[in-house]
Amino acid sequence: MRFTLFAAMLLVACGPLTGCSRSLSTRDVGEFIDKADDAARKRFAPDICALRGKDFTLHVNFQGHEKRIAPTELEMSRKLFCREAGEFSKLQQYRLERKSIDIRLATDRKTASVKAQYVETMPYYEPGTVPQTPYDFFDWQIVESLDESVVGVEDGELVFLSTRSDASQTLVPKNQITLPWD
């Protein structure tokens, strides 16, 4: 009886430690990125947010479609990122394609850096306008980005620790692309 109790206590005490000492594999990280991409495709903010670490930061360099205007640069905390993920759920037409992925494990296998190229297609609502319906747009925006992320283990789960994204936007007339509603 005493031994069972001792074993159970030991198991509880070691639980969090196994999370900290978890050794990553390329396969784990690949599956994690697939999961993150699926969450983005569903545009369900809680799922997107749950994959970001407590101190997650996103740094974005964004070249808008008007190339004469210099790119914008912004840094988002996890809190702000999660808020924006909520806004993202308002989109009813969205496509995310991953074009490439390169995973490199750190020598201690505690973290990994992931470089991935994406192409996103979604409606372009003119800044400063308030669309009355989701149809109120004239162009699709195609955003090509190169994301460099660091992933690692937090509370026993794989999460994004940080992401740097270099993105470039082009516009395509509405009638040239058909995207399903979902």
Partner: protein, 158 residues
């Protein structure tokens, strides 16, 4: 020995709770702080007739921004409103940071930090914050409920 197990467990739970309460930091100002009257932008700091909480609730426009309270020092709180807005060049960060400080029965706006394109002047920001409760005819603080009560930019309800 077994008779002591229950009280010992209780002691651990109560002790743990007390330690967590003592070590945890406040995440937002107390009601006592937010119920204080916001001072006006004039030199005399005339009361505006609206409590800080009324002013913040009336400014519902901030609902699109994430709100974070921090405590820079005793009797002062800083509210950070943070959002991402779509500009013609792409997404840009929009933020406003207001530091409020308690002075006797008032709370004063003592510092404003804001995105490049926004005015960070104290007078301008106080007037702007008071615009919403004025327009909505929000409930004033007790001292301004009496007929003939005056306050900074305050227009009594008819």
């Amino acid at each position: 020995m077994r008779a002591l197990a229950g009280p010992a467990m209780l002691l651990v739970i109560v002790g743990g709770f007390a330690i967590s309460r003592m070590t945890s930091t406040e995440k937002a100002p107390s009601r006592e702080f937010t119920e204080l009257e916001l001072a006006g932008a004039d030199d005399d700091h005339t009361g505006s007739c609206y409590s800080l909480s009324t002013v913040l609730i009336a400014n519902r426009a901030y609902n699109n921004a994430s709100r974070t309270w921090t405590k820079p020092r005793d009797d002062a709180w800083t509210l950070l409103l943070d959002a991402v807005v779509q500009g013609h060049g792409g997404p840009v960060r929009w933020f406003q940071e207001f530091t409020f400080e308690k002075h006797a029965e008032q709370v004063r706006l003592v510092h404003v930090k804001a995105s490049e394109n926004l005015d960070s002047g104290l007078e301008h920001n106080i007037d702007e914050l008071l615009e919403a409760p004025k327009t909505l005819q929000s409930t004033p603080v007790d001292r301004c409920l009496a007929p003939g009560a005056t306050g900074y930019l305050f227009v009594p309800r008819r």
